[in-house]
């Protein structure tokens, strides 16, 4: 208690009051007088009395100094003084400060921007209670090498009832549905609807910001904060109002807290409804029993995840036996950590973000090297100041601490300047991410984590670039400096090393940028295997018309027919998923052949209408196309691509071979009637095995369809005409999207574009910084050789020879940098190879280009200092020392 009180008193003392200081002086003064009085009373002469008292008191300043040490925290105060001094230094050299702060701010801002996105998508835990206790149930799908998160509702129900390891278990799923009626208006775009068990919020430990959660079977909804703002303008009386879906009316009973947007990171939920209401409130939703759900469990305190997993597995095996559910491999069941939520975009963004983090880190390192070089050059100018300080008795540690404080102040200024840059970069990244096929929607508002990251990074940066120059600067030979002799080799060698490092790192970044730009280019300009020009994709869904099976197929056939006859349309057809969408998977067996492992018999599959292949321009190599005569009544047929033929048969003349689709009844077979060229079907990188089947032969899986329309040219009116025509065919036919293939391609390249842009931008930045650093160092080199050059010129060397001398020095540094950079780039190539397309990670051309560009820049940066040194007047050069 006393200690604490003293602590706060001292903390107050740090700011120190002048008054208290004056009081001490007065107190000592009175002390002296009292002592003199005593001495006088003892019979001394006034002079002697004063003299003795002064001797006894000792050094007044020493007393004051030890008093001050007790008053505050001296170390802290010294730090504060260093800090103020550093700020004065920064203000006294505005030019230097501006250059240093700007280059560091770019580096720190870039890092912070990328950290914000990385943190939001990869690192942050869900804003729920004790997220580390949450697990998600998953099954390993051997066929597609992925964790699958869906279970049937009845499986969930049984799991929940029979397991003992969980404090709670909730079901959740999410779908997009357009046409939600809210606040008197029908949603134009889709709303992201969370379908959850009634205990969902309780299991996650999320209390509604307003109202309550719903009960099982209640016709109610909880809306997200975002939806509340977007659709209800934050109306305070939103509770009790309703939303309409599929003709059902649900009462809003709660609003989720602002931070909580569901358990899928990057795909925020707009409103949650009870899973028990889903069959009524959602069109095309199966019965409750067959609903797909994701299962989230909260472990009981003290129960380990492994233990819970063992129990869940045993129970699940039992359930699978009893109800004969779709559980194919109960042993593959696993409990995965759910603390960070699950996220499909995460899988796609993880690697690119790691790479961008490294790239941004390299840029910052280059900026650090740059500023370290500037500091070195400046410490040249300050050598006398430092020497004088050392001579006056300042310890070397004291000088280093002061110099380090100066760099830390620079870095903190840069951190502050980097924040707006980061904000700008973050919103740019967010836009790039939102434009992509996953429409990632992240909450990227700056938060404490981001600020802490920036502050920590700035501090680290300051120490990093400040330490070496500070050590070098404090190691001065006193006598030499005071005599005015030129400096020793320490700082000079360090400066050259820094330039080599800068050039090396820049090379790494340039190579990276080159690879990513090439990748983007290759993806765009590749032969897709189909014709991309004037191809319009119309995503439709006739589910709302209520038709099924044959009637639904008939509706689509009519739609294709009518659109095909519109003016400006050259050809039209339809397919289940169409290009530029992930295709469905089909697992196959081939009767009468040696069956390879099941996993390899999984292929992409699409159900197509007649003339679909020619409409897209996917060339038929052998056999025939699907025709109107391929119906449910006729024998099953399939068309395969070359990749599939090669993979399964090792040859392409496979017309006539037979396949069995695992989804079909046993015994039924399809005959391969055609072989087509490979096409970039689902994604632009895709060239995998692919099978096309007639849609009329697969009515049980017929749902939404994509109309492919080939127009005769750019025709902005065509979209409206198609929309009108389709409305005439079937009012219930919903159009969920219309994209020109080239636009869709562009959209699907969001991540590649993001990486290429940022890598390119940072590569350029690195080049600029390296150029500045090199210019500085070469000016210095040239200045040091002025004397020598003067002698050479006076002995008859031409200016050109002198220039060549300095340029030679620069190119040596450049080549050394390249020698350092190439191995680093090659080592890093493994990290990026998965993201490249049509170019190897160790691509010789890219490497050579980067090296040549770098050498050219090195030469350009060195030219001016070289020219200046060469044209110096020989006489004045000789006098320069």
């Amino acid at each position: 208690m006393r200690k604490l009180r003293a602590f706060f008193a001292r903390l107050g003392g740090v700011v120190g009051s002048r008054r208290r200081e004056r009081e001490l002086a007065e107190e000592l003064e009175s002390h002296l007088r009292l002592h003199i009085d005593d001495n006088l009373r003892a019979g001394m002469s006034p002079t002697e009395a004063r003299r003795q008292a002064l001797i006894r008191l000792g050094g007044v300043e020493a007393v004051k100094e030890s008093w001050r040490d007790q008053r505050g925290f001296p170390a802290l105060e010294r730090l504060g003084r260093d800090f103020l001094h550093a700020i004065r230094m920064a203000r006294r050299n505005p030019g230097f400060t501006a250059v240093a702060v700007t280059s560091l701010a770019l580096g720190i801002g870039a890092n912070t921007a990328i950290f914000s996105v990385t943190d939001a998508l990869l690192l942050k835990t869900l804003p729920v209670e004790k997220p580390e206790h949450l697990v998600v149930f998953a099954g390993w799908d051997d066929a597609i090498h992925q964790w699958m998160y869906f279970f049937e509702y009845r499986e969930f129900d049984e799991l929940r009832r029979r397991t003992r390891s969980f404090a709670g278990m909730a079901a959740t799923w999410a779908v997009d549905r357009s046409g939600v009626l809210a606040n008197g208006r029908v949603d134009e775009g889709p709303a992201h609807i969370g379908i959850v068990s009634a205990n969902y919020f309780a299991v996650l430990g999320v209390a509604p910001a307003m109202g309550r959660s719903f009960g099982e079977g209640e016709a109610a909804a909880v809306i997200s904060y975002g939806y509340w703002r977007r659709r209800f303008s934050l109306a305070p009386d939103v509770l009790g109002r309703t939303v309409g879906m599929n003709g059902r009316v649900l009462t809003i009973v709660g609003v989720a807290p602002r931070r909580f947007t569901g358990d899928m990171v990057g795909q925020p939920v707009d409103l949650w409804i009870p899973v028990t209401m889903a069959p009524q409130a959602l069109a095309r939703w199966p019965s409750l029993e067959n609903s797909s759900v994701r299962v989230i469990g909260r472990l009981k305190p003290g129960v380990a995840a492994k233990q819970a997993e063992a129990e869940a597995r045993a129970v699940y095996r039992q359930i699978a036996r009893e109800i004969g559910s779709a559980a194919e491999s109960p042993d593959g069941l696993a409990l995965l950590p759910e603390a960070r939520g699950i996220s499909r975009p995460r899988e796609h963004f993880e690697r690119p973000l790691v790479i961008l983090t490294i790239v941004a880190g390299l840029v910052l390192l280059i900026a650090c090297a740059n500023v370290a070089n500037l500091l070195l050059a400046r410490s040249e100018a300050r050598r006398r100041e430092i020497a004088v300080r050392l001579a006056l008795g300042a310890g070397r540690a004291r000088v280093v601490r002061q110099l380090l404080m100066e760099s830390v102040v620079l870095a903190l200024l840069a951190g502050a300047a980097g924040l707006p840059l980061a904000q700008w970069g973050t919103s740019g990244l967010a836009r790039l991410a939102r434009a992509g096929p996953w429409a990632v929607d992240l909450n990227l508002a700056p938060d404490a984590r981001m600020l802490a990251y920036t502050a920590g990074l700035s501090l680290l940066t300051g120490l990093l670039f400040g330490l070496a120059p500070a050590l070098a600067a404090s190691r001065v030979a006193l006598h030499a400096v005071i005599k005015g002799a030129p400096d020793g080799p320490v700082g000079f060698r360090l400066s050259k090393l820094l330039v080599v490092a800068q050039v090396g790192l820049s090379l790494v970044l340039l190579i990276g940028a080159g690879l990513f730009v090439r990748t983007l280019d290759n993806l765009k300009s590749q032969d897709l295997g189909f014709d991309r020009e004037h191809l319009l994709l119309v995503r439709t869904d006739a589910g709302l018309s209520g038709r099924k099976g044959e009637a639904l197929a008939e509706l689509y056939a009519e739609a294709v027919e009518r659109v095909g006859h519109l003016a400006g349309v050259r050809s039209a057809s339809a397919a289940g998923s169409g290009v530029m969408r992930p295709a469905a998977f089909a697992s196959l067996t081939a009767p009468g052949t040696v069956t390879p492992p099941a996993a390899e018999w999984v292929v992409g599959a699409d159900q197509i209408a007649p003339r679909y292949l020619p409409t897209l321009g996917i060339r038929l190599l052998a056999g025939r196309d699907v025709t109107d005569r391929d119906t449910a009544a006729s024998p099953g047929v399939a068309i395969v691509n070359e990749a599939m033929a090669r993979r399964f048969y090792g040859r392409t003349d496979v017309v006539g071979r037979r396949l069995h689709w695992d989804g079909d009844p046993p015994g039924s077979e399809m005959e391969i009637v055609g072989v087509v060229r490979d096409a970039a079907y689902g994604t632009l990188r895709d060239r995998g095995p692919m099978m096309y089947v007639p849609y009329r032969q697969n009515l049980q899986i017929l749902g939404s369809m994509c109309l492919a329309v080939r127009t005769s040219g750019e025709d902005p009116g065509i979209a409206a005409r198609i929309r009108q025509e389709l409305r005439a065919v079937a009012p219930g036919l919903q159009i969920s999207g219309m994209d020109w293939v080239e636009d869709a391609m562009d959209q699907s390249l969001a991540i590649e574009r993001m990486v290429a842009w940022i890598a390119g931008l940072f590569g350029g930045l690195a080049l600029l910084l390296a150029c500045l650093g090199l210019y500085g160092t070469m000016s210095y080199v040239a200045a040091r050789r002025t004397h020598e050059i003067g002698i050479r010129v006076s002995l008859g060397a031409t200016p050109m020879q002198a220039i060549r001398m300095v340029l030679g020095d620069a190119l040596t540094l450049g080549l050394a940098g390249i020698a350092v950079g190439v191995p680093v780039a090659l080592a890093g190539s493994r990290l990026v190879s998965g993201l490249l397309f049509g170019v190897g990670a160790a691509d010789a051309a890219t490497l050579a280009e980067a090296a040549v560009l770098l050498l050219a820049v090195v030469g350009a940066a060195a030219w001016l200092p070289a020219w200046r040194a060469a044209t110096v007047d020989a006489a004045s050069a000789l006098r320069s020392e």
Partner: protein
């Protein structure tokens, strides 16, 4: 100052407090004098230690300083014990007596318990 010991580390605070308890409010010079006198001239108070010690006790809330006038009409800063200071004197004095008791028992020649 030959022949005189500096005040031992850690005992100065107790001496100050005890002095204030016995003599009432007193200025720094008086406190130093009193300590030196009580020790029979064996101790010398270093002012570079005394004033920080006074400040420390003030920060801890054991004593409080106010400006006043000395008996010979000099302006001086007087220190007086606070209530917490009084409690502290009792406590520390007891601890000190215990400690010295133990030490003297060790040092007493040939005595058996």
């Amino acid at each position: 100052m030959p022949g005189k010991a500096d005040v031992w580390q850690g005992t100065l605070a107790l001496m100050i407090l005890k002095t204030l308890e016995v003599l009432g409010p007193l200025h720094g010079y008086g406190i130093a004098r009193r300590i030196e006198q009580t020790s029979g001239g064996l101790l010398s108070v270093n002012y570079g230690t005394l004033y920080p010690a006074l400040l420390k006790l003030e920060q801890e809330g054991s004593i409080a300083g106010v400006w006043g006038v000395s008996e010979n009409h000099r302006k001086a800063r007087f220190y007086k014990l606070t209530r917490a200071g009084r409690r502290q004197v009792d406590k520390e004095a007891r601890q000190w007596e215990q400690a010295t008791g133990i030490m003297s028992r060790f040092l007493a020649p040939g005595e058996r318990p």
